[in-house]
Amino acid sequence: MSLEKLLVVSAALFCCGLYAILTRRNAVAVLMGVELVLNAANINFVAFSHYVSRVIGGQIFAIFVIVLAAAEAAVALAIFLRLYATTGTVEVDTADVLKG
């Protein structure tokens, strides 16, 4: 395994996540896309930590990101529940009341 391969995996994962965020209409799917993007970043953290800086800080930061992602998922799912209760759907297109 080398740094480049890991970075390619991470970039691929990021692109998958971004693609999911851009194309999916379902809010839960968008959230899953966000998780992919975050995990792509995690891979980068761990990879650079292992191959470049040789200190453990990057890996700890990855754990922080995972915790943050869990918290984010909890908040986001709660918002979706409220969204569903209000509009009867979790399609993100319908939630456009802040449109200019």
């Binding site: 965020i21 968008v30 993100v92 456009d96 449109k99």
Partner: protein, 709 residues
């Protein structure tokens, strides 16, 4: 007690404040407050006078000063008190007459609706006058000078419901202002040149030659203008007869002892500053006054008007005397006149109180009804006429002597003596006429005669006191064969004389040919050694150098005295006899005389047409000027103002347009631009999440591409 002299003016001031504030609610309406305050002042003045008299030093002077107002650190205005022999005499004269007038007013003003206010006014007047007497600088004498003017205005116009009285008050005030303006200019001129305000400092500065020549003459004449106004001298004498509209006690207070005396006192107080030219001016002003007003007094029917004109005339005597160098004589006449003229005025008040008329042709025979008034009135008349044994003889005799000496030294001014002597006769004549028509003969108006009665005691007691003071006995000095007044109030050395000879030295030769101008200066030079000798002799050690001039001068003085005394007794006797002959025994019918000299009589009855002259010149001139000014104001000034206003309107119109189109346009343009840009940019705000993320990702890619290449 001299140390406490400064308290004296404040006593009447206290009385004024009490009476003006709560007088009405006090018992007896507060008259006792005023009487007590001014009476205390009288007691203090007498004590001061006694102390000064006991010291008996011609040069006595008590002078304290403390800085009062500092102006920018450059100079300081001092407040202070100056008590010398002259001040001590004036204090007694002023407080004495004032006290008696206060007491007299209790009877005279009884039942007046503004009784307590009258006493308040009397008090403020006494305050002003006492302050004037005690002042030690030109600044303070000017302040009190104006206060006297104001309080005299209040007193003369006291019965302001009568139009004539309020007019008389205004006339007195305005005419006085004319003179006061000269006074102000005069002392400002001195102040500008010497930088000093205190008498002694100014005299010293003049001795040092800081001001001299024509400028000093002008300053002297300017200050004398104040005296012309206050002492009712020609040509500003017109206010005094009109001022008789005031209550009679006011006439006695203002026109006998205080206000009119202020002018004479001022001239006496600043005596050293006058140049010979200024003295000549003073002498002629006094001369014209005494002659003109005496002739007017001959024809008047109103008892108070006659006394008023006689006051003018007597003041003319004093001013003349000061002008010809008779310093002591003038001020002595001031003191004696204060007593007998106050007595005459109060006596006339008593008569008016009794018969309720002022026309002497409606009186007559009152002798039987009012013995005390008549006797005191006659004593005062004898005094003013100059009958030996009375005070007026003594002072008038001295005036005539000094005028005669002046005339002998300057023969071209002999007219002063002759005219004055003639006027002394006129005085005796018209005063006797007044007495005879009032008290003797048959009653001409029986109704009024029946109702006449002697006045109450608080009115006749002052009369008796004043009549007693009209005798000559109190002028003898216990320490010398001269009168004490002559010893105590000697002529002050002129401050000018030190400077004049030096100037005259190069001026005189050129001007000697034109005698009229040069003589006063040379007269001053001639007088100078004699003056020094005179003063020195009294102290008992005559310098040898001046002895020759002194003996010559003494001789001249003696000779002049004899002439003056004889002629004045003769002319006074002649005047009195003529009056008795004409008005008591009817040798000549006065009406026929009046008919025969009708133009002269009309001229005199109309008071030499002075009021008419002023009406035509000053008053109409002022009115015409006012009209011209009014026209100028209405047309030129208003036109300018309106033009400016019109310009303003036009400019405002233009500015309004600019505001509406340019400024508002800019503001609205901003708003429109904001709205336009807002509606353009709102289209990017779709609310769709993936749009935003797309822009985000696109942005990142673009940044990456930019960085990469």
């Amino acid at each position: 007690m001299i140390r406490y002299a400064y308290i004296i003016p404040f006593l009447p001031l206290l009385g004024f404040f009490i009476n003006i504030a709560v007088g009405k609610r006090l018992p007896r309406k507060g008259d006792w407050v005023s009487i007590a305050t001014v009476g205390t002042g009288l007691v203090m003045s007498i004590v001061i006078f006694y102390e000064v008299f006991r010291i008996h030093d011609p040069n006595f002077k008590y002078h304290i000063v403390y800085p009062w107002l500092s102006l920018g650190g450059r100079f300081v205005i001092n407040a202070g008190v100056l008590v010398d022999n002259l001040t001590a005499v004036m204090l007694v004269v002023v407080t004495g007459v004032s006290t008696l007038v206060h007491i007299y007013s209790v009877g005279y003003m009884h039942g007046d609706p503004r009784y307590s206010r009258f006493f308040a006014y009397l008090s403020i007047f006494s305050f002003s006058m006492l302050g004037l007497v005690l002042a030690e600088s030109f600044f303070f004498i000017y302040i009190f000078w104006e206060l006297v003017g104001v309080s005299s205005y209040l007193l003369i116009g006291f019965w302001f419901e009568k139009k004539s009285a309020s007019d008389a008050g205004k006339k007195a005030f305005i005419v006085n202002r004319v003179g006061d303006f000269g006074f102000l200019l005069g002392f400002l001129l001195l102040f500008a040149t010497t930088g000093m305000l205190g008498y002694d400092e100014v005299f010293q500065a003049i001795r040092e030659g800081k001001i001299g020549g024509t400028l000093l003459t002008l300053a002297g004449i300017g200050i004398f203008c104040g005296a012309i106004g206050k002492s009712a001298q020609f040509p500003l004498h017109v206010w005094l007869p009109d001022a008789m509209e005031g209550p009679t006690p006011v006439s006695a207070l203002i026109h006998a002892a205080t206000m009119v005396a202020a002018g004479v006192y001022l001239v006496g107080r600043v005596y050293p500053i006058f140049t010979p030219d200024a003295f000549l001016f003073i002498a002629y002003v006094g001369f014209f006054t005494l002659f003109i007003t005496a002739t007017i007094a001959l024809t008047h029917r109103d008892i108070k008007k006659v006394l008023a004109y006689s006051t003018c005339s007597q003041l003319g005597f004093m001013i003349l005397s000061l002008g010809v160098g008779g310093f002591t004589a003038g001020l002595l006449h001031l003191s004696t006149h204060a007593a007998f003229k106050a007595c005459l005025f109060l006596g006339s008040g008593s008569v008016i109180h009794a018969v309720h008329t002022q026309d002497i042709f409606e009186m007559g025979g009152l002798w039987k009804k009012m013995k005390i008034t008549a006797v005191t009135f006659i004593i005062a008349t004898l005094a003013i006429s100059g009958v030996p044994g009375f005070s007026g003889f003594y002072s008038k005799d001295m005036i005539l002597r000094d005028t005669l000496i002046f005339g002998m030294k300057n023969p071209q001014h002999m007219i002063l003596f002759l005219g004055t002597l003639f006027t002394a006769g006129l005085t005796a004549f018209y005063m006797s006429r007044l007495v005879i028509l009032t008290f003797f003969g048959k009653p001409r108006d029986h109704h009024k005669y029946e109702h006449a009665h002697e006045s109450p005691a608080n009115m006749w007691v002052p009369l008796v006191v004043l009549a007693t003071l009209s005798f000559a006995f109190w002028f003898k000095s216990p320490f010398s064969d001269k009168g004490w007044f002559e010893v105590l109030v000697p002529k002050p050395a002129s401050a000018v004389q030190a400077a004049v000879p030096a100037m005259a030295a190069h001026v005189l030769p050129a001007e000697e040919a034109k005698t009229a101008h040069a003589v006063p200066a040379s007269a001053a030079k001639a007088e100078k050694p004699s003056e020094a000798a005179h003063a020195a002799k009294e102290e008992g050690h005559a310098p040898a150098a001046a002895a020759h001039g002194a003996s010559h001068d003494e001789h001249l003085k003696h000779k002049a005295h004899i002439y003056a005394m004889v002629s004045s007794i003769a002319i006074a006797g002649l005047g009195i006899l003529l009056a008795i002959g004409v008005y008591l025994f009817g040798w000549v019918d006065p009406d026929k005389v009046a008919e025969k000299f009708k133009p002269v009589h009309t001229f005199l009855v109309n008071k030499w047409y002075f009021d008419e002259l002023y009406e035509v010149t000053v008053i109409n001139g002022t009115k015409a000027l006012s009209r011209a000014m009014g026209w100028f104001d209405n047309n030129v000034v208003d036109g300018l103002v309106n033009l400016v206003a019109q310009l303003g309107v036009w400019v405002s119109f233009l500015i309004g347009k600019f505001d509406n189109y340019v400024v508002d346009g800019a503001v609205n343009g901003m708003a429109t631009a904001t709205i336009g840009s807002g509606s353009f940019f709102r289209r990017f705000q779709t609310g769709k999440l993936y749009h935003y993320v797309f822009v985000l990702a696109g942005g990142v890619i673009i940044i990456y591409l930019v960085k990469a290449f």
